[in-house]
């Protein structure tokens, strides 16, 4: 009995340390972003908003922010309907090839992203999509699709297709019965999938490093280049804003999922 409880204490201590390791680095950027110091000192000497001012007054950072937001919104607008249609077909169809197609749709998660990035770069150079907005959006649609597909497939698993059959036997056509009966019941997983696609597009770095350029560089590409040169606290301010945005979106997604329960 005694030994069991001491083992329990060790378990608690290890777990707390691991959680500290996981969380502290995410939180440490917040005080640094509000520091007045030019160089990174901790704790910060005094409170200041200068790095936020620098971010919001820089045309280059603002342009990059516009690109990131545009790309993320367009990605969601395209990836969500495509992903929902694909997930619906994968879950309803008894065609044997659907299993292969299902696996193919998850490929973006399997192929190392650096390989995808270089491959897309080579293809884009041939078709003139390098350093363009459509090229960036298209790549992010592909990377976001698996999140929508996985989320919607999970939602469809608890949905009884017989309900849609009933609606159709009562005279609704396929499309109307989908929108009237099926979609309302899987709405929360559709929204969650869309939100994950948005976050994925907002955070995507590696593909953007290879295929974006000129005025169509997203935030992450500019941040990466800035980090290679010198560590500027402006990046802490941007990081804090990005992290806050991600967390709010995740909270939104999980609140929706819970409500549908």
């Amino acid at each position: 009995m005694m030994r069991a409880s001491s083992a329990r204490i060790v378990l608690y201590v290890i777990s707390v340390l691991v959680l500290v390791y996981l969380i502290v680095p995410v939180l440490i950027i917040v005080p640094i972003s509000f520091s007045s110091a030019r160089f990174l000192t901790f704790p910060p000497p005094s409170f200041s908003l200068r790095w936020y001012e620098q971010y919001f007054s820089s045309p280059a950072w603002m342009q990059a922010t516009r690109v990131t937001l545009t790309v993320a919104f367009l990605t969601v607008l395209i990836a969500t309907p495509c992903g929902v249609a694909a997930a619906y077909a994968v879950s309803q169809s008894r065609l044997r090839i659907m299993r292969v197609i299902h696996m193919a749709l998850l490929l973006p998660l399997v192929v190392p992203i650096i390989i995808t990035a270089v491959g897309i770069f080579f293809v884009y150079t041939r078709v003139g999509l390098v350093a363009t907005l459509p090229g960036l959006v298209l790549a992010n649609v592909m990377l976001g699709l698996p999140y929508v597909v996985i989320s919607v497939l999970a939602g469809l698993q608890s949905f009884d297709p017989a309900q849609e059959m009933v609606a159709r036997s009562l005279g609704m056509n396929r499309l109307r019965s989908f929108f009237a009966v099926t979609l309302p019941q899987i709405k929360s997983s559709v929204v969650a999938g869309g939100i994950f696609a948005f976050i994925s597009a907002m955070d995507e770095t590696i593909v953007a490093l290879f295929i974006s350029g000129g005025q169509y560089q997203p935030l992450t590409k500019r941040m990466f280049t800035a980090l290679r040169d010198e560590i500027d606290p402006t990046i802490a301010a941007i990081s804090t804003l990005m992290t806050a945005a991600s967390f709010m979106l995740v909270l939104l997604a999980s609140a929706r999922q819970k409500r549908s329960g």
């Binding site: 959680l19 995410v26 901790f42 249609a85 309803q92 998660l109 399997v110 650096i114 560590i231």
Partner: protein, 289 residues
């Protein structure tokens, strides 16, 4: 008789199949155009340059810099996987053994960094680990060290940050597997007189192994292709395979060599997935992303 009845239903079925294929086609087209075609392009480019050639593969398999990079990448991936397992298993175990609410709370703390940009976390580790960084200041303040330690721009910094980024991929499948282990089994072990540590070793641990395999596979495979942390925290000395690919493209314009490295990396990943799929379902590995 039978055929005349099945005819309309066959027609209906064909329409149904057509509709399903039409629904899946936009997503499939995007994936074909932006993953299958690019990877095929890389494969082609690795063996064809003004004629068929194996020169790129000869370089990859014989030149020192390539060999060393592949060896280093596998070593780092192995180290990252083992450390993630050692850190993740106790955490998943605790989350699993606590009342549901607390378990979910711990999991959401694990997911917190998961939803933060990899780039932001790499930056945070730079801040923490650099010579004038938070950890070195702290150590010097306590007078534990007289000179700042070289914690970053080396393999150490790369591993610390990479484990941090990949740990959720270990904890989630572990937790999911542990949730499925019936509590009765542990109680049965205890009622038969086994000590808690014996029931853990003989009952719980073996039953959690599929989760261990799923987590380790995901972490190892993701680490093999990792790019941001070695590039930003490796200080140019920790050249992982992903960096060979990008340098060959960006700095040296060696597209053939870059393609060959990418193909070898992808084949390694696929071989690992294939080997693992013989033991556990791949859905288990990928499902918890």
């Amino acid at each position: 008789m039978a055929t005349s009845v099945s005819d309309p239903s066959q027609k209906h079925q064909r329409r149904e199949h057509g509709l399903m294929l039409a629904l899946v086609s936009p997503a499939l087209l995007v994936v074909l155009a932006l993953i299958v075609l690019p990877v095929g392009w890389l494969a082609w480019q690795s063996i064809y340059h003004d004629g068929f050639t194996l020169e790129n593969y000869r370089r990859v398999f014989t030149e020192d810099i390539y060999w060393r990079s592949f060896a280093l990448t596998f070593q780092i991936s192995l180290a990252v996987t083992l450390i993630a397992l050692l850190l993740g298993y106790p955490l998943a175990y605790l989350a699993n053994s606590l009342p549901k609410g607390w378990g979910i709370f711990i999991l959401s703390l694990v997911m917190l960094p998961f939803w933060t940009s990899v780039l932001v976390r790499a930056y945070a580790w730079l801040v923490l680990l650099q010579r004038s960084g938070v950890i070195n200041q702290f150590l010097r303040h306590l007078e534990l060290v007289s000179e700042p330690l070289a914690l970053v721009h080396n393999t150490f910094g790369t591993v610390v940050a990479t484990v941090h980024i990949l740990l959720p991929f270990m904890v989630l499948p572990l937790y999911a597997t542990m949730q499925k282990i019936p509590n009765d089994l542990m109680q049965a072990g205890a009622s038969l007189g086994a000590s808690p540590s014996l029931t853990f070793l003989r009952v719980f641990l073996p039953l959690s192994l599929p989760g261990v395999l799923a987590g380790c596979t995901m972490v190892f495979v993701l680490c093999l292709g990792f790019y941001i942390t070695p590039e930003l925290l490796g200080g140019g000395r920790t050249v992982m395979v992903s960096m060979l690919v990008s340098r060959n493209v960006e700095l040296y314009n060696q597209f053939g060599a870059a393609s060959a490295v990418a193909v070898v990396l992808l084949l390694s990943v696929l071989v690992i997935f294939f080997a693992v799929s013989r033991f556990i379902s791949l859905d288990r590995v990928l499902g918890h992303k």
